[in-house]
Amino acid sequence: MITIENFILITILSPLIVCVLTPFISNGIILRDFLGPIGGIISSWGAFNIMSSALNNQNINLEIVNIAEGISIGFEITPLGAIFGLVASFLWIFAAIYSVGYMKGNKEKNQTRFYAFYAIAVHAALCIAYAGDLLTLFIFYEVLTFSTYPLVTHKQNEMAQKAGRLYMSILVGSSVILLLPAIVWVWVATGSLEMSQNGVLDGKIDVAYAPLLLAMFVFGIGKAALMPIHKWLPAAMVAPTPVSALLHAVAVVKAGVFTMLIILTNVFGIDFLAKTGASEWLIWLASFTLLATSIIAIFKDDLKARLAYSTISQLSYITLGGALATSMATQGAALHIITHAAGKITLFFVAGALYVGAKITKISDLNGYGKSASLIFLAFFIGSLSIIGVPPMAGSWSKFFLMLGAADSGYEVVIGIFCVSTILNAFYLMEIPARAFFFKKEREVSVKIPKLILIPTLITSFLTILLFFCIEPFQNLTSMMVGKI
């Protein structure tokens, strides 16, 4: 019988072990390539067990290193963390298989380095998911930023250098200048770095300062990509597509919104937020980001750039859900972490597949490719439907809860915003399969998509349908998160 503490270790350490082993077996190419998927399977096995223990409401604390008095690196299982941890580790399996296909198909250089840093990034994301206190959260938040830099600048050319600069300056700058003092402020105010399910700030901080502290958190968490600190995400698209798919649609950005939700629920507490109205401004900022980036996405012809803006818009759904500060909206936000992850990773997989198979990056070049690559466009279609929120795709659940939450909170206008954004989503995502299937081909190019790319893409698109029917355990976890069970 393996204890839950050990499962935490298994989950977070397996990507780290993959990273350490990768350089040593770089000669045995096949073995090296399969390390990632194997690590993913072991890691998500642990994550499944952690989730089931979270469902049984077990309280687990695990201290790893005691840095000095009152500061330590420790892990703890929260319902939201269990969800995020499962998402990151489970999708890593498919992303790892996909990256093998992509890197081979594209004949990229320095593959060993790529796999090693890829694994560290997953490790950091998992550590964020199970972080037991604010400092651990911050530490791995930074590790995630730095481990993704070599991935973003993988091509090591001028463009990558520029993008890397923007990426680092926004993410490091915001987190160091705002997030760190915000965390220390909480530390000084409450006397510890702990978080708790109902928030820790009630009565510990002057209500007048609450919006300021919240602003420091919101703009400090650059990974949540709220406007005006969203520019790093489109810039990061210069990275190879597996990075965009797992990291910039799942691990990194979800770490951002996860941190945001944890701060809103476990540091401020939704009751405290609802009572003081400290998050009201955040509702409007998130709504604005949501609509503005949807509109920008329409005008992007580069497929990855369009998906990037779509991601920013979808992240704002989650922040908005937290800011509404009702239990329904928070549940919706938490569910959106899973449903959007499955949908968006599929879309990025398709973008990468098209690049490997036909060197297409622009949407306007897609005309008529539907016949030669029907499966890949089918996957895209299913993923898009999930993101738009059409049943029976997973995305419909989270949108449903978010809208209920908006109604509860008394901000009816937000429901309207969700509706408008849904229409915009449909508009900019449906263009892609529509062009592929209904437009005429301009020139003949054969599309050859490697099996290692095609299969993970189909699986993740199938996951969006599966999730629609299996949402129950996740929904139980989210209701535990808001204290309903």
């Binding site: 290193v65 005691n66 840095i67 000095a68 008095e69 500061i71 911050f138 530490i139 791995f140 930074e142 590790v143 730095f146 070599p150 600048t153 090591q156 050319n157 990558a160 250098q161 890397g164 600069r165 680092m168 300056s169 490091v172 700058g173 160091v176 200048i177 760190l180 003092p181 220390v184 402020w185 530390w187 000084v188």
Partner: protein, 496 residues
């Protein structure tokens, strides 16, 4: 036998390098003079560790030199505060000496090497004397010993670059002015109190409130020390001196020289003048605090625009000294502790960075400028890796020693309701990422000339050790943190 050793530890720490420096000069062989120097620094390091253990038991050691009882005789005082710079100086000098073995003969002609080692030990003895002595005039003597030895060491760089002479001359003049100001201050205080012993001085000035001579004496002393500690804007000697000194000397000076003076500054502010509260509070608030904040930004911005890497690191040191003095300026127990934490961490960070840059320079055989770094990251992976880790530590990123100092500094500022200072500190540390990243990026991304370089273990061993410390003290900081808090308690506890 052991008893006698333990009893005389305070003086042995200073005497060991002082005496060996006289013998090293007589050994013409490069290797043997290096061995003797290493042995001597190792013994000194050992003595200071023994001293550290002694301090854990006794917490305050007073040693009367030549059995002349204080306040007439010279007294050496070692307490929980003084032990921090002692450990830093003796430890770093030991590692720097190991590192010097390969580097020194590259830059200095063979026949003067043993003289250099002699000066090297003399400088170390001077620095250690500074921090152990409890006598204001004896402090001046050590100040001069360490300064003159350092000036001569800097001037040795002239064999490679004639600019070193200018740097040494600047250092000499400015340093001499600083020392003179300090000794004028000592004279004034002696005039009104009739004592040179620090503890005695503290007691005698308690009933001299608002005495003009006291204020003048204090001013002279503080400014003299601030010159030596390179507190902005009295830092102008520092960038040149660090940049043109022989590489091994840069490592030694950057990591230790200013630390000793910063310690003296803390000692004067919080211990010697503890009874003149108004004077100290005004100095902290109107002099040290604004200067530190300017230093933080000026140093960082100068570093951003600097192309020569050694100078860049020197400018960055000015900014880092700003953090330390800022911590002192806030003047609470937590902030002074943060200052000591950063004093220790900065020594290992800057030591590591200077060693890394020197190793790079050793292999490319040129002055290390930003353009010369192209592609070196791929050519020298081990050095590059250590350099990146030390840089991250300087920038204060988690899991490194630098993070611990930032964390405690920020916590101290926020605790004393000065959140704007916390934000300023963080903005400046975010700016420091700019110049660090500039170097890393060039090494990592830009293509260089294809050069085949074999990294040598004799050179990178000390780099790896010091980088390891940077990570270790980021993961297990309790030793440094507890030590610093004890030190702060000792200083402030005297105050109230």
């Amino acid at each position: 036998m052991i008893d006698i050793l333990i009893k005389n530890l305070p003086i042995l720490v200073v005497l060991c390098p002082l005496i060996t420096s006289l013998f090293v000069v007589l050994i013409p062989n490069i290797f043997f003079s290096w061995v003797l120097t290493t042995l001597s620094t190792f013994l000194t390091f050992l003595f200071s560790i023994l001293l550290y253990q002694e301090i854990q038991i006794k917490s305050h050691i007073s040693y009367a030199l030549g059995k002349w009882m204080p306040p007439i005789g010279i007294e050496y005082i070692i307490d929980r505060v003084a032990i921090i710079p002692i450990i830093i100086i003796s430890g770093i000098s030991f590692f720097a000496t190991i590192f010097a073995y390969k580097i020194m003969p590259e830059e200095i002609e063979k026949k003067s090497i043993s003289k250099v080692y002699s000066l090297w030990l003399l400088a170390i003895a001077g620095l250690l004397g500074l921090v152990t002595t409890g006598d204001t005039f004896n402090l001046f003597v050590f100040l001069e010993i360490s300064s003159l030895a350092s000036v001569a060491l800097v001037a040795m760089g002239a064999q490679k670059d004639k600019q070193a002479l200018v740097a040494a001359y600047n250092y000499l003049i400015i340093g001499a002015v600083g020392a003179t100001l300090y000794v004028i201050g000592v004279g004034l205080l002696y005039g009104i109190t009739g004592t040179l012993n620090m503890e005695d001085l503290t007691n005698r000035i308690s009933d001299l409130n608002n005495n003009k001579a006291l204020i003048a004496g204090f001013g002279f002393m503080i400014i003299g020390i601030m010159v030596k500690a390179a507190v902005f804007p009295l830092h102008i000697w520092l960038p040149r001196a660090y940049a043109y000194a022989p590489s091994a000397v840069s490592v030694l000076l950057a990591a230790t020289a200013t630390k000793a003076s910063l310690y003296i500054l803390a000692r004067i502010l919080f211990s010697v003048f503890e009874n003149s509260e108004d004077l100290i509070n005004n100095t902290l608030l109107y002099v040290i605090l604004p200067l530190s904040i300017i230093a933080m930004f000026a140093g960082t911005i100068m570093a951003i625009y600097e192309k020569d890497i050694k100078r860049l690191l020197a400018h960055s040191s000015v900014a880092q000294i700003g953090y330390i003095t800022l911590a002192f300026a806030i003047g609470t127990k937590a902030s002074i502790a943060a200052g000591f934490i950063h004093m220790f961490n900065h020594a290992i960070i800057k030591g590591g960075l200077f060693i890394a840059i020197t190793s790079l320079g050793f292999f490319i055989q040129k002055r290390v400028t930003i353009n010369n770094l192209s592609g070196l990251g791929r050519a020298m992976p081990i050095t590059f890796f250590c350099f990146v880790l030390c840089s991250l530590s300087l920038a204060g990123l988690p899991l490194t020693a630098g993070f611990i100092s930032k964390l405690y500094l920020i916590k101290a500022t926020i605790s004393s309701d000065a959140i704007w200072i916390a934000i300023l500190i963080l903005i400046s540390s975010a700016l420091s990422v700019v110049y660090l990243w500039k170097m890393i990026e060039v090494m990592w991304i830009r293509e260089g000339k294809k050069i085949l370089i074999k990294e040598k273990p004799t050179i990178y061993i000390s780099l790896i050790i010091i980088t390891f410390f940077n990570i270790y003290f980021g993961l297990d900081a309790s030793l440094v943190v507890n030590g610093s808090f004890e030190a702060a308690e000792k200083l402030i506890g005297d105050l109230k």
